[in-house]
């Protein structure tokens, strides 16, 4: 493995998981806070109000 490849691999091992976790986390917040599907909205209703999300 060349020096560049080793460097790229080291960066990948730290950045890729971080990017994936960031997207996953924001995805979870979008589902609990913003998704307007009726069942989801009703279940998360009080939380959305109390946490300052736009609700309805």
């Amino acid at each position: 493995m060349t020096t560049n490849a080793i460097k790229a691999s080291a960066v990948g091992s730290t950045i890729l998981p971080a990017v994936f976790a960031l997207i996953l986390g924001l995805g979870v917040v979008t589902v609990t806070g913003h998704a307007q599907a009726s069942g989801l909205h009703d279940a998360a209703h009080d939380v959305r109000h109390a946490t300052g999300f736009p609700c309805h």
Binding site: G12, V31, P54
Partner: protein, 250 residues
């Protein structure tokens, strides 16, 4: 080696796996713990205000233009509606776990750049998260009780998301920018969404007394700040503890 094989090799490399499980484990512990505390605080301090507002939203109480109304109607107690309150606990824990995943991901990047991450510095991370996710959007779209007049929910969600994104970048620049230009960009990013303006309703038609609306917004901010500061501290603590554990195992 093709690009695809290189990506695949990187994805499954032991270092990547270790890093990902460290992020995931710390975020799950921190998010679940802070989320549970947030949920209990919300049920005790915010939920009664919300239930009070719903009496006006549903027409059980009428305030404006009518005779004076008692400020202390009988409200259901904590856990009087177990399914509703149970769902609130689950969804608060999920929401804070989502916040935690994003927070720990950014912590891992900051640590790679030589920043110290622990329970104490985590307090500041939590405060920054509160500003980005609660305070910045709430400054123009105040946490609302049920029954207040508001613009279309889709439009508000777009403004909310844009404001959280710009405030998040601004908080990173303030923390790690380290020069005047980045502070100025951060200030512009923080102010811009409020100069553009949040979506507002055309008319006021909400039946809820202002006293209830104001108390609700204040309580939502207060609990949000407490929960975020705890989340940041927990995330920093678990991030450090998981790192030590991984190093010991290696």
């Amino acid at each position: 080696m093709t690009l695809l094989t290189m990506c695949a090799t990187q994805l499954v490399s032991p270092a990547t796996k270790t890093m990902f499980s460290r992020i995931l484990t710390s975020a799950l512990f921190a998010g679940a713990a802070a989320g549970l505390i947030a949920a209990l605080l919300q049920l005790y301090f915010v939920q009664p205000v919300l239930l009070h507002a719903e009496l006006y939203e549903g027409g059980d109480l009428v305030h404006f233009g009518a005779d004076p109304v008692t400020a202390h109607p009988e409200l259901p107690g904590m856990f009087a509606e177990p399914v509703r309150d149970g769902l609130s606990i689950i969804f608060t824990m999920l929401t804070y776990t989502g916040y935690a995943l994003a927070l720990v991901a950014l912590m891992s990047i900051a640590e790679q750049q030589g920043r110290e991450i622990n329970g104490r510095t985590g307090l500041l991370w939590g405060l920054a998260g509160f500003v980005a996710f609660h305070f910045a959007p709430g400054l123009s779209l105040a946490p609302e009780v049920p029954g207040v007049a508001a613009a279309d929910v889709g439009v508000r969600q777009v403004w909310w998301t844009a404001t959280v994104a710009t405030a998040g970048v601004a908080m990173w620049l303030i923390a790690f920018g380290g020069n005047l230009v980045s502070y100025l960009i951060a200030a512009a990013l923080l102010i811009a969404p409020h100069v553009v303006g949040a979506p507002e309703p055309d008319t006021f038609a909400g039946p809820v007394p202002t006293e209830i609306g104001a108390l609700f917004a204040a309580r939502a901010f207060g609990i949000g700040m407490a929960a975020w500061v705890l989340l940041g501290s927990f995330a920093g603590y678990f991030w450090q503890a998981e790192g030590k554990r991984a190093n010991a195992a290696a």
